[in-house]
């Protein structure tokens, strides 16, 4: 809806749209908005990164898109996938979409895989769940899928149990399962957060290749701006359940508009090369995000930590305003803001 789509030669195909998604979670019997009116569209062949720290709402956002909001949560807004409104579906209908049209990989591949089944059995099951092919055919397809995610010796991997595999191979197995139904949309929730640095690079490279080759629309959830920079086309910055900035990734990195985005970029632990930065203090964002039930309800959620806050920030919630090539939820992006302050 509001996603600025930098126009490539061919207009990209919108595959998943989220409109004004709201997820309220109960805390001591009172509902608080963990996700507060988030909207975006995923396009074929493009990766949208959602970046946020703990409490930003990124996990609840993913769960709501998948129809997996926790018990007691109240979900509002709409999710459309392949022309259907998912939010109107029954649990069964949603289950059919989840996995078939939307593939998923998560942070902990060890938790996503069933420890008592071989990798082969799990990939075969995923294939047969979505398509009535023979077991032998499914096994052949499973080998192809494992080869596609660059499993060394894919045929032999069929007989391996998850605990025998390294973290990186487990995540490759999860990707093979996610792709078994040939989904158009892939949700990757912190897919490399549990992996070592050199292995994380391999998995991110693999995700890029799969996106290219399969023309996937990827939603990449991460807390890591380094990953955002290298592996996404567009980015949403979430803070306290709201999108605070939205832009093409390159533009956001070049000229971050929202004070939170700017602060976050200063905190990224860049390597102290040539002795530069060594012993130097980070330009930090003061304080931390309060628990859901303790956040300010009026005004900008970032105001208590914002070095640039001024009078209206504590009383009115800013809209998403045009800022450079993107959008920023900050009164400073209004032309008249500076003179007001």
């Amino acid at each position: 809806m509001v996603t600025p789509a930098p126009a490539p030669a061919k207009a990209p195909e919108p595959l998943l749209s989220v409109e004004q998604l709201r997820v309220e979670l109960p805390v001591d019997g009172v509902l608080y908005p963990a996700v507060d009116g988030v909207s975006f569209t995923l396009f074929a062949g493009r990766t949208l990164a959602v970046v946020g720290e703990s409490g930003s709402g990124k996990t609840q956002l993913v769960r709501a898109i998948l129809g997996l909001a926790p018990d007691g949560a109240r979900v509002g807004g709409k999710v459309f996938c392949a022309g259907r409104e998912l939010t109107a579906l029954s649990d069964g209908g949603w289950r059919a979409v989840r996995g078939r049209q939307i593939g998923m990989v998560f942070q902990e591949p060890a938790a996503a895989l069933d420890p008592v089944w071989t990798i082969g059995a799990q990939v075969v099951e995923a294939i047969r769940l979505h398509e009535p092919v023979s077991r032998a055919m499914a096994r052949r397809r499973a080998v192809e899928l494992l080869a596609e995610v660059a499993f060394p010796e894919p045929a032999r991997a069929l007989g391996e149990y998850p605990h025998r595999l390294s973290g990186g191979l487990r995540q490759r197995a999860c990707l093979a399962i996610a792709l078994a139904s040939s989904p158009k949309v892939l949700l990757a929730d912190e897919p490399t957060a549990s992996l070592d640095a050199t292995v994380a690079l391999q998995i991110l490279e693999l995700l890029e290749r799969l996106r290219r080759e399969r023309d996937l629309a990827v939603l990449l959830i991460t807390h890591d701006l380094g990953i955002v920079a290298k592996h996404s086309d567009d980015v949403l910055v979430l803070y306290s359940g709201r999108v605070v900035e939205q832009a093409a990734t390159a533009a956001l990195l070049r000229a971050p508009a929202h004070p939170y985005t700017r602060g976050l970029l200063h905190c990224v632990p860049a390597l102290a090369r040539q002795g530069r930065l060594r012993g130097e203090r980070y330009a930090v964002i003061a304080g931390s995000l309060e628990d859901l039930s303790a956040r300010p309800r009026a005004g900008c959620a970032f105001a208590p930590r914002c070095p640039e806050r001024f009078a209206p920030c504590e009383t009115r919630v800013p809209e998403l305003y045009a800022a450079g090539e993107g959008l920023s939820r900050c009164f400073l992006s209004l032309p008249a803001a500076r003179s007001d302050g």
Binding site: E53, A197, L264, R273
Partner: protein, 330 residues
Amino acid sequence: MTTPGAAEPLLRAEGLTKRFALQRGISGAGGEVLPALRGVSFAIAPGQTLGFVGESGSGKTTAGRIVARLVQPDAGRILFDGTDWLALSGAALRQRRRHLQVVFQDPQNSLNPRMRAGAQIAEPLRVQGLARGGALAERVRQLLSDVGLGAETATRFPSDLSGGQRQRVAIARALATSPRLVVCDEPVSALDVSVGAQIVNLLLDLRERAGLSYLFISHDLAVVSRIADRIAVFYLGAIVEEGPAQDLIARPLHPYARALVAAAVESDPSAPPRAPVLPGELPSAVNPPSGCHFHPRCPIARPRCAQEAPILSDSGSGRRVACFYPGEMG
């Protein structure tokens, strides 16, 4: 023990070796021995910070836990502050522990959930008999202020505090006895980026004010590069390269150190993207590859590397590297 021509280090570890017996699993497999550390040596100068980097399973945490006397090694010795550190036990160890404290990754687990923050910070002072009564309360207030927390935090339980505040309390407790060395084991890994940056700043400030030494353990080379004077790179239970932080990052000699530097550059949003430099993953320590344990993933491996294990040796300018072809590019 002295090193001619060099200032006496605050801590010197030699030949630390540790094997863990793996429990037999329900499948009947196991009963194997995991060599977590294979003869690791390092030194920390007074007021200096040594960083340990490496991936999970590299042995960096085991080495840190041995220094903290939380794990007893199978072999090796540590000289700390003039004492045979590993030989101390009982009251003598308790008495000396005030000089060497630990900050763990997750303050959620390292703090007692049923104890107020102030009482937890006071505990080591009380146990060590270093302060009591009004002086103790004053010291706790001072420590809270040193780590950037208000005096009112003393009455809070850990569950009332944010992750960053809990880690500040854990740091205050570690500093209570005025230690000379603090082992920081992944102190910011469980925290959000913006909060982790605050904690790194705090550790830098405290070092400056108190003349502390840190043994700073992290999987994140970028964080280590901010704080460490020297860096030791661990791979599969051994140090493969060690040297002044600045030199090691500017010109890593071991191909694995080079891969870690490249991965850390990759995590810098302002650096240009590049392809992964290393194939494969950390192999099993139970059945490590022959020769140089790194050779199956190494871009410059030659036949010799599969047969012989290179020894960590001096390569000039205070640097040590375990590679037959140090500094060569793939």
